[in-house]
Symmetry: C2
Subunit: 231 residues, 2 copies
DNA sequence: TGACTTCGTGTAAAAATCACACATTACTTC
DNA sequence: GAAGTAATGTGTGATTTTTACACGAAGTCA
């Protein structure tokens, strides 16, 4: 019953779901690139590409992100591996998907790629995507929503200094529910992980808001003791 | 700057972390097989093997599980993909790891494999493992602990009919904390997902315990409405 | 100086969590 | 058949957490 069997080699890719948050519009966004080559030429797709033999999966994801979107030093985490047989019409291709969270400062960098057209899309207005990228995107959204509730990853989508209102809008956009202002502030401040800054955020025609930064060092200490950042 | 580039093919494997729960000893266990071939000959390892070109990753995991451990129809979920360059001394091998939860009825089936020696080990007494399987196992344990707190997957480790004490012991073993009997029962029953049966569990020299079964249909309905099974 | 807009704050009611002890039931043994 | 043994099954009050909710303060602009 046993065959002599030459181990198959599969083409391996990484694909990245890059999230950004537009505070002005309070909209969660995803970075897509337009494909220049077949298959799915001219379709929008997740940035990604083939894994090289001498690099880890994480390295491949970072490299592709940098090559295709000019983004570096972002929060990047493995999401899921997609391995249905026909997901690529050419041949068997297995894709290890990642998701990335970017700060607004990175946004212009990402947009200015000229290798391929790159654009931010609100998650509510995603165009048809190449391959099974719509599935990958859905998976990433579910993961992001889940993580946001018990890990402090929202800060990865905000500038280093942010106001509590910005943070609240972010949570509301991602989770899809309105939150009570006073209760939200009470809760996030109760962890003592937000450091109030001397500066304020002045914008428009109203009272300026207190700026905060997230304290990752303190968080790391607490996390090791089993602390959960719950919202 | 662009090379002509032959896409690399990587050898792809699946590895499975198979969990079982021994109610008698209140011990979470993992199924390991002893390798018959180099590398790591005679070392203990996770069951797994190469992915074939014409099968999905999930199919490959199920097939390997069946071939190596006689286990079928178990709870199986993708865990993480391990892709460091040197994890296999022979060549670049990327492994998509899965974790499985088995009911006690499957345990003897698993043990009786003769293709390779297979044995259950308490998670507290894991021998040195081949490759990076210790890392994979750790990842699976963390995932299991996390999931158990807000998804009803504990039932996958118990027989179809079980007592509340068995369920409590399971939670205690996996989470590593003792739980209050009255509070635990109040909580799990409050979801109305456990159906009391007419039968009782009679064992030893003491009062028999009420048997329950989990109602997966009802859970599915609730889950779609955003219900979270929290313990 | 008045109109406008967002910021920042406290309290009381309701709900969830936690700590905790003893009578019940069946089996075994004498 | 009485006494001993071992695990089951059950309720309450104290504490903590969550929820709902409104208005004065601070700044800009006309």
């Amino acid at each position: 019953m046993k065959h002599t069997y030459e181990y198959p080699r599969a083409a391996l890719t990484v694909d990245c779901v890059v999230f950004g948050f537009d505070s002005a519009q309070a909209a969660l966004q995803v970075l897509l690139i337009r494909r220049g080559l077949a298959p799915f030429k001219d379709h929008w797709a997740l940035p990604g590409g083939f894994v090289r033999v001498e690099e880890t999966l994480d390295d491949a994801a970072r490299r592709e992100l940098e090559e295709e979107t000019n983004l570096s030093t972002v929060f990047l985490e493995q999401l899921y591996t997609f391995g249905t047989v026909d997901r690529d019409p050419r041949e068997r291709v297995v894709s290890v998907a990642y998701y990335a969270l970017t700060k607004p400062t990175d946004h212009t960098a990402a947009a200015s790629t000229d290798a391929a057209e790159a654009r931010w899309f609100p998650v509510t207005e995603i165009p048809p995507l190449a391959f099974d990228h719509a599935t990958i995107l859905d998976t990433a959204l579910v993961r992001l929503r889940g993580k946001l509730r018990y890990e402090p990853i929202g800060f990865e989508l905000l500038p280093p200094k942010f106001t509590l209102t910005q943070l609240q809008r972010l949570y509301e956009s991602v989770l899809g529910t309105p939150l009570d202002k006073r209760n939200f502030r009470k809760k996030v401040l109760s962890h003592n992980l937000l450091v109030p800054l001397k500066e304020t955020h002045r914008e428009g025609t109203h009272r300026p808001a207190q700026l905060f930064r997230f304290d990752p060092v303190r968080y790391e200490k607490l996390r090791k003791k089993g602390f959960l950042f719950e919202i």
